[in-house]
């Protein structure tokens, strides 16, 4: 492992001159770092292309930064501030009760609810011991005593649990009652488990309340370290539904009544957290509402997952919008991370006149280097071309662990992973959270990804370790290099701008170019693209698997993307039954296609296959000779191979590929200009196309495994050119930008940036042919 390490992140990602930005940097082994603002032009270091190209912007940022180690709190939990002064453990009797569904009991201690100071052994906590048994423990600063349930908790099973402590007699009581329904857990009623356990015992000691700096926590307990200070440890994996704390001993029959109908008694209640409160049609936030007398709401940290089924989920209502009362589950993960919460190292205002582009803060120190990328838009759009950087996709893939943790990854990519020492460092550090392609430690899919953390795989030189070539932003820079090299006047936009501003963000531009893999789209982005095309906008979609996943941002929190992978599509995980709706927006997630909006409806083509063994080239199709479009192929031979080269596996057609399909909504007047076929069986037809599975759905046998180039016009001189391949843009820089793929792009762009009728538009008559 490297001795010196430096990592950074910034917020926000998309800025205009005059906007304020923050850079957060953490370093180990060094105290100073050189900083430089750079404009990123090309990322991939492959010797077949232009290599890494950046342009320094001296003087824009302070030259020397003082840096230090910043710590990251992993794991989601919730803090109920204000409870400290009301802790019943200071001499009184009390009862805690609630519904829980642990997903990874055992191995280590986990705290579900408590005001427990690990470092000083003070306070009380309800949780699980390392053997996976429910446990209630108290500490007086010197000794700890506990009462433990008899049978271990079974993963993904709901329980009603309660613990009470009688201050007069020091007797404690622990109640654990299984709540197995027909739908709510992994097992149904046929499994002859007796989950119940009621234990009573006199404790050796009474709890001494933890210090004022220790809040009441859901899903964790407070610990202390000389270097870090206070942090949260013994994090919990699993769901917690409604729970409450009472300042007296709640009798067992009363507890049983609560367990059977979930109606918590308000008498003597100190806090009654109702996890089902706060749902709207638009989803739910991070605050867990306390309906008790003191309003001790718990604030979620690192986005505990809401909109999850609760203990009483009856299977009929599959969304919280139908019955929020069944959606009390709040899922906590010990490895969730949506915000590193580092202190800003640099506060910065984007200087006036800074050219729109992809920029980065370059940090160098003692042989280590880090680029912290961000996107600068034009203050007032002037260029005819906008490049829409797919920041949603960058978030979705941020810090993916596919090469290390997904056993099927090599079968999908057909590659043995290629790692660098920086990758290995990253695996070892294991500190910067997951992507929406990863699983949490309890096996649940990760549905949140945020930019408030260092993201290794948006570094410009980064090559995806699973595939050995650049992915997303580093790959997209090939398009930027080509635009620069070809001398086009372009500006940068991001998904986040499109999401926030809608079609107004696109309107100033004559042409909007997508990048290689615009896979994640919100409804606002879909709408805006449609509206833009309808009004006469021109879209070039030179990418693969775009407009695919329904994803969303919570209003006011653009830094965290949410997606739930549902029943169809190439999905790294699959949401549990009833948990397919976005907590951020209230929408059904999954594929846009499953919601009646296949990508074909907007850009004419949609995802059909993926493979990472090798790419191939496009060939012209008969439609390309029609005068409406033949101008696109000027300088390209009738049977010329288009793009039989490239930085993306040696061809312009490949990696993820899209196809034309009228059934899925490709506009009926769409022309099929080109196609690429001859893919190997490592390109299987995507799963959403498979109704019956039968042999021969790979590239060597299935006619749907191909990449298409399509063209259709829209009203008001609008048009959409789609080239269904991720590898396309990565072919453009080959031979210093002089090649057949680049020629095609040039033909297209030169025409599309001209206002007025499109070339060939007049050739709309009926053909009367002799041949």
């Amino acid at each position: 492992m490297a001795k010196h390490r430096i990592f950074g992140y910034c917020t926000p990602w998309s800025v205009k001159p005059g906007d304020h930005m923050q850079f957060m940097v953490s370093a180990e082994g060094v105290t100073e770092a050189r900083a430089m603002l750079v404009r990123l032009i090309h990322g991939d270091e492959s010797p077949e292309g232009p290599g890494f190209v950046e342009e320094e912007v001296p003087g824009a940022l302070p030259d020397l930064l003082h840096v230090h180690r910043q710590f990251t709190q992993k794991g989601s939990y919730a803090v109920a501030a204000g409870f400290e002064t009301r802790d019943p453990a200071s001499g009184g009797s009390f009862t805690i009760a609630g519904f829980i569904c642990p997903t990874a009991p055992g191995k280590r201690r986990q705290t579900m609810l408590g005001r427990w100071d690990i470092h000083h052994s003070r306070g009380w906590g309800l949780g699980m011991n390392p053997d996976g048994h429910l446990e209630f423990w108290v500490g007086n600063g010197h000794d700890v005593d506990q009462i433990t349930a008899e049978v271990p908790l079974v993963p993904r099973t709901w329980y009603f649990v309660a613990a009470s402590f009688d201050a007069a007699t020091r007797s404690a009581r622990l109640v654990q009652l299984g709540k197995v329904g027909r739908y709510n857990g992994r097992h149904g009623p046929v499994v002859p488990y007796d989950h119940d356990s009621i234990v009573a015992s006199t404790l050796k000691l009474a709890p001494m309340p933890a210090g004022a700096e220790v809040p009441l926590l859901w899903a964790g307990a407070s610990d202390w370290n000389d270097m870090r200070g206070r942090f949260v440890a013994t994090l919990y994996n699993g769901k917690i539904d409604r729970c409450g704390i009472w300042q007296h001993l709640v009798q067992e029959d009363e507890l049983r009544a609560m367990a059977s109908d979930g109606d918590f008694s308000t008498e003597g209640a100190l806090a009654l957290w109702d996890t089902t409160a706060g749902y709207t049609d638009q989803g739910i936030g991070d605050r867990i509402v306390d309906t008790g007398p003191y309003g001790l709401h718990a604030q979620g940290v690192n986005r505990p997952v809401r909109a999850m089924t609760g203990w009483n989920w009856a299977g009929r209502d599959d969304c919280f919008r139908l019955d929020p009362g069944q959606y009390g589950g709040v899922h906590f993960h010990d490895d969730a991370l949506t915000d590193c919460r580092w202190a800003p190292t640099v506060e910065w205002t984007v200087p006036q006149g800074l050219k729109s582009g992809v920029y980065a803060l370059r940090l160098t120190s003692d042989g280590t280097e880090d680029h912290v990328p961000f996107f600068v838009r034009a203050e007032k759009p002037k260029a005819p071309i906008a490049v829409l950087m797919s920041t949603f996709t960058y978030l979705a893939y941020a810090n993916e662990h596919l090469a290390y943790e997904a056993p099927i990854a090599q079968a999908i990519t057909a590659h043995t992973p290629i790692l660098t020492t920086r990758d290995i460092d990253f695996v070892k550090l294991n500190e910067f959270g997951l992507s929406t392609y990863d699983h949490h430690s309890d096996g649940a899919g990760c549905c949140y990804s945020s930019w408030l953390r260092p993201i290794l795989n948006i570094r410009p030189k980064y090559r995806s370790s699973a595939m050995g070539f650049p992915w997303a932003l580093p790959a997209d820079l090939s398009l930027i290099w080509w635009l620069e090299n070809a001398g086009y006047d372009y500006e940068i936009l991001t998904d986040h701008d499109l999401h926030a501003e809608g079609v107004a963000a696109l309107d100033p531009y004559r042409v909007v170019i997508n990048v290689t893999h615009p896979e994640y789209y919100s409804e606002a982005m879909m709408d805006a693209t449609e509206d833009y095309l309808t009004r006469g906008g021109r879209v070039i979609y030179p990418g693969g698997n775009g407009y695919y996943w329904v994803s969303g941002l919570r209003d006011g929190a653009p830094e965290i993307l949410e997606v739930r992978k549902l029943d169809a599509g190439s999905r790294a995980w699959q949401a549990e039954a009833g948990e397919g709706y976005l907590a951020s927006t209230g929408e059904r997630s999954g594929l846009w296609r499953s919601r009646g909006r296949a990508p074909q409806k907007i850009v004419g083509i949609g995802f059909t296959a993926e493979g990472m063994d090798r790419s191939t080239h496009f060939e012209r199709m008969p439609d390309s000779f029609h005068k409406r479009v033949s101008w696109l192929f000027e300088g390209i031979g009738d049977t010329e191979k288009i793009g039989d080269f490239g930085l993306g596996l040696g061809g312009a057609a490949g990696i993820e590929i899209d196809r034309y399909d009228l059934e899925l909504g490709t506009p009926p007047h769409t022309l099929l200009l080109g196609m690429a076929e001859g893919f190997s069986d490592n390109y299987p037809l995507v799963s959403e196309e498979i109704t019956y599975a039968f042999p021969g759905r790979g590239g060597t046998q299935d006619p749907q495994v191909r990449a298409d180039i399509t063209w259709f016009t829209t009203a008001n001189d609008g048009a959409c050119l789609s080239i269904g391949s991720i590898a396309w843009s990565m072919a453009l820089p080959v031979n210093n930008g002089q090649n057949s793929a680049a020629r095609f792009m040039r033909n297209a762009l030169d025409a599309l940036i001209r206002p007025g009728p499109l070339p060939g538009a007049q050739w709309a008559g009926q053909e009367k042919l002799w041949r």
């Binding site: 049978v151 989950h195 009573a200 015992s201 662990h401 050995g468």
Partner: protein, 509 residues
């Protein structure tokens, strides 16, 4: 040679013979605790039977049960023993008590002291002298013994901080010998044969060596043993003992977390020495006299034999060892000197066959059984064998068993596809396109489990990258390991190197 080994499938399945409770979840389980230390009386393990999912509650630690059976059996049979046997039982109780305390010193504190009997003897002489010459009444002999024991312990403890192990043991033998010689020289203390007689006792004079006296003697010795066991439990299993246990496992770590194990060690030594002094006082009362015999080397070695046979460090070891040696030494008195040889033989057999005495025999047997089991399983797995019925009982996810069978048969088919031509085909184009045969082989490799799956490390600058082969850990936060020190100049060479490694793994299995 390459013939698959036909699996031998044994029927497995045991009848339930273990005693266990079938609790009902809805009933409250009242867990009572021991007074003072607050621990639960018994350690239970609750759970679900993996075959039926029925609730079970079984004793996680059955030792309290065995203690109860053993000690209650002794008490119950004592009134029916002959006088001679009763005397043996008394000796057993006293020596067992001494050995239990000694075990604290050797086991818990980890100090190899052989001055145990010297401490007992000093306590006994001091208490007897106080009674006979100073007229101290017998109940006050106990505090005298305690005081002398503590003093002796304090003196012996000092050098233990400076020297270790064998040297300290030799030193303590020396101390014992000095005690014996000194006392034999002090005429004033013990005029007759260096022994003090007519010591007052809790056994009335006219009951001495009579049946009621023997019964009372046994009762008192039994209580003494119980007290010794209680002391052992309090010291060994509470804070002090746990600190020392941590220190035995890792001295530096325990020091780092703030355990002052040297202090704990000395404290245990002092407590034990005090207890030995009390036992000395009791000893003098029990026999109404005390003689130099108590310091003798052969007595010490006999006690050492008890500890060795039973096993150091555990109370049950001390008691079992004492029982065996006392029985041979006292009950087989007719054998004469032969019984010493017999004891020596037992010591030799026990040390040769067990790691840590008889008390450890059960866990040693279990470890042996587990070793044999895992050896056989490893051998089968190496040969690509299937899961045996006796192994299946321990695999909760039965799909893994199906995978193993499927995998074995798939590998057998794939092995037949590996030819030099196939390898050459891969070398020419590692990323394809591939023939059907190679595609099948590649897909098998790619689908393998994550742990130890190969990856390629790329190092150096763009344009002069070099590649080497690594293996992934499959665990979050655990980095990949280096497989060998070979470096490859191109990515295709590295891909092919991984392929060759995988072919090798396949053919070897």
């Amino acid at each position: 040679m390459n013939e698959p080994i036909a699996p031998v499938l044994h029927k497995v399945g045991n009848r339930r013979h273990e005693w266990m409770l079938r609790p009902e979840g809805r009933k409250t389980w009242q867990r009572r605790r021991l007074p003072l230390i607050g621990r639960h009386w018994l350690t239970w393990r609750g759970g679900h039977n993996p075959r039926t999912l029925e609730r079970e509650r079984r004793l996680a630690d059955k030792r309290p049960l065995w203690w109860l059976v053993g000690l209650a059996g002794l008490v119950a049979t004592a009134p029916f023993l002959s006088d001679a046997m009763l005397q043996i039982a008394i000796v057993f109780c006293v020596f067992a008590a001494i050995n239990v305390i000694w075990t604290l010193i050797i086991g818990a504190a980890g100090i190899l002291s052989l001055a145990t009997m010297a401490t007992v003897g000093l306590g006994a002489y001091a208490a007897a002298a106080a009674n006979v010459y100073l007229g101290v009444p017998w109940p006050l002999m106990f505090p005298v013994g305690l005081l002398v024991g503590l003093m002796a312990g304090g003196l012996l403890a000092l050098p233990s901080t400076r020297i270790d192990g064998l040297y300290y043991a030799l030193l303590t033998i020396g101390v014992a010998e000095i005690c014996r010689v000194s006392i034999s020289q002090i005429r004033a203390l013990a005029p007759q044969n260096s022994s003090i007689n007519n010591v007052d006792s809790f056994i009335p004079q006219d009951w001495f060596l009579q049946r009621p006296g023997l019964l009372l003697g046994f009762a008192s010795a039994f209580v003494l043993l119980l007290l010794a066991l209680l002391l052992f439990r309090l010291v060994n299993s509470e804070r002090l003992g746990l600190q020392l246990q941590a220190a035995r496992e890792d001295e530096e770590f325990s020091e780092a977390v703030g355990i002052d194990y040297k202090r704990a060690r000395l404290l245990v030594f002092l407590i034990a020495s005090g207890a030995l002094g009390v036992i000395g006082a009791y000893y003098a009362m029990l026999y109404r006299s005390i003689s130099l015999n108590i310091f003798s080397l052969d007595q010490l070695l006999l006690m050492f034999a008890m500890i060795v046979i039973g096993g150091m460090g555990r109370a049950e070891g001390a008691v079992i060892g004492t029982a065996i040696v006392v029985l041979i030494d006292r009950a087989l008195i007719d054998l004469g000197p032969l019984r010493i040889i017999l004891i020596a033989a037992v010591v030799i057999i026990v040390t040769l066959t067990t790691h840590r005495g008889l008390a450890d025999a059960r866990s040693q047997f279990r470890a042996y059984r587990n070793r044999i089991k895992s050896e056989r399983r490893a051998a089968r797995t190496r040969k690509g064998g299937e899961v045996m019925p006796e192994e299946a009982t321990e695999i909760a996810d039965k799909q893994l068993i199906a995978y193993r069978r499927f995998d074995k048969r798939l590998r057998d088919r794939l092995k037949a596809l590996i030819t030099p031509e196939l390898i050459e085909e891969h070398r020419r184009a590692p990323l394809g396109p591939h023939s059907d045969a190679l595609a099948r082989v590649m897909n098998y490799f790619r689908r393998g489990e994550m742990s130890d799956k190969y990856a390629i490390l790329q190092e150096g600058d763009p344009g002069s990258w070099t590649y080497s082969v690594m293996a992934l850990s499959g665990e979050p936060g655990k980095p990949p390991r280096v497989v060998d020190d070979r470096h490859y100049g191109s990515r295709d060479e590295a891909y092919h190197a991984v392929f060759l490694l995988r072919v090798n793994d396949l053919l070897e299995s």
